[in-house]
């Protein structure tokens, strides 16, 4: 399965246990999740500029929107896919919500930073 923006958002929704029910609306709208992804890309840009060598270090970081960009390929190397997935989930959990889990949010946000910056071997 190709790693695309839409697939990443779908996986984030699975981790958030927020898949679209038969009736009713999900807790997190696509716009909210994709906004978290766009912010995560900015974080990667500042923490790991080497991820953007091919895309262009002096090229504006992409800003995605759904559903228009659902099939756009993940713009950087695969090794940054999981950290960004954790970032999207963690940042979404930070939202003040009855079902939000602050502890999980902090864990995932920390994991995102650790995967980008720390030697885990």
């Amino acid at each position: 399965m190709a790693r695309t923006v839409g697939v990443l958002i779908a996986e984030a929704r699975q981790l958030l246990n927020d898949e679209v029910p038969i009736s009713g609306l999900p807790r997190y709208a696509d716009d909210e999740l994709v906004a978290a992804l766009n912010e995560g890309l900015l974080q990667v840009r500042s923490k790991r500029p080497d991820a953007w060598l091919r895309y262009g270090l002096r090229t504006a970081t992409p800003v995605y929107a759904l559903p228009a960009d659902a099939n756009k390929e993940f713009p950087i190397e695969d090794q940054f896919y999981s950290p960004l997935l954790f970032y999207v989930v963690g940042r979404s959990e930070l939202t003040e919500d009855t079902f939000a889990d602050d502890g999980r949010a902090v864990t995932l946000m920390s994991k995102f930073a650790a995967m980008l910056l720390k030697h885990t071997g």
Partner: protein, 338 residues
Amino acid sequence: MASTTTIGDTPPVSPAVGDAWWDSVEGQLYVWFNDGTSSQWVPASNQPGAAGPSGPAGVPGPTGQSVVAIGDVPPANPQPGDTWWDGISGQLYIWVDDGTSQQWVIAVNQLGPEGPPGPRGPKGDSYSGGPGGPLLPTPELASDLPGLCNGSLETLYDQVQLQIPGVTTDNVKLQAWRAIFSFYTSSTYRREHVFWRMDPGVATLSFDPWDAHWRVCRFLGFRGLSKPKFEPPGRVRDLSYPIPDTTRSGEVILALRPDCIDAPLGDDAWAMWFDTFLAGTLSRLFMQPGKPYSDAQMGKLQALMFRHGVVQARAHVQSGYITEGVSWSFPYYAGGRQ
């Protein structure tokens, strides 16, 4: 009878046996050859053979005809298109006028970059036992694993990414290129010896770029002008005033550097200096701050290994590529306990 050499996009008409044609489109030298039944143009592959006894310089041909000369020294007063087979190095040169200067340039066909490895062939039938009885199954050799033969860029990238998880491919490529570039500029590992000629009224010689992949890095030796001015990277200007109306000639030794990452480095570079390229790449990556793999100590160690390789390469090329190798100590344990 002297053979003639023609330069052009199309072969000359009515060639004689032994005539040469330099295809200016393909950059290929051909010789008109008669094999007893037919005549055709065959590529002059310019393979250096065993050095034969040195012969006298060839006799210049009549005016207007190119001359193929064989000898230890270049022929005097060559004309554009003349070729000279250096009896010492086994190298074929051609006298070229590029509009501003004239010089002997190597008539060699550069190999293109190595293509990607082909797909693995189908597995053969298993051995079912011969007349001598069944054999134990032979373990399959990992012959399809890249990097088991002499190095290449892909092997270098693989080695780096094996040792540094989390590094991006583009970053590896960037630092590998810097390491290879630094290796050639610091060690002057690739050197070229050129005999040049400057025509009356001409004041500059330019050796840069050397070819599509290599640029001149620096001058290592020069002879032939009383007042030369060296203009980096590869131009020489005669400061004599007025500009002499005589022909000047001499020789120069140039150090070359690759112009881009796809420059063919040659099998000797990969075979002998692969670990140096690797150390240079690793040192640059370890020294980068704020990465999961940042490690100043490892960076210093790899940088030391890289510098050691550069020094070795420089000594190797300065000795004319003839060295016995690195000095080594007899293992201490082989002498027995004291």
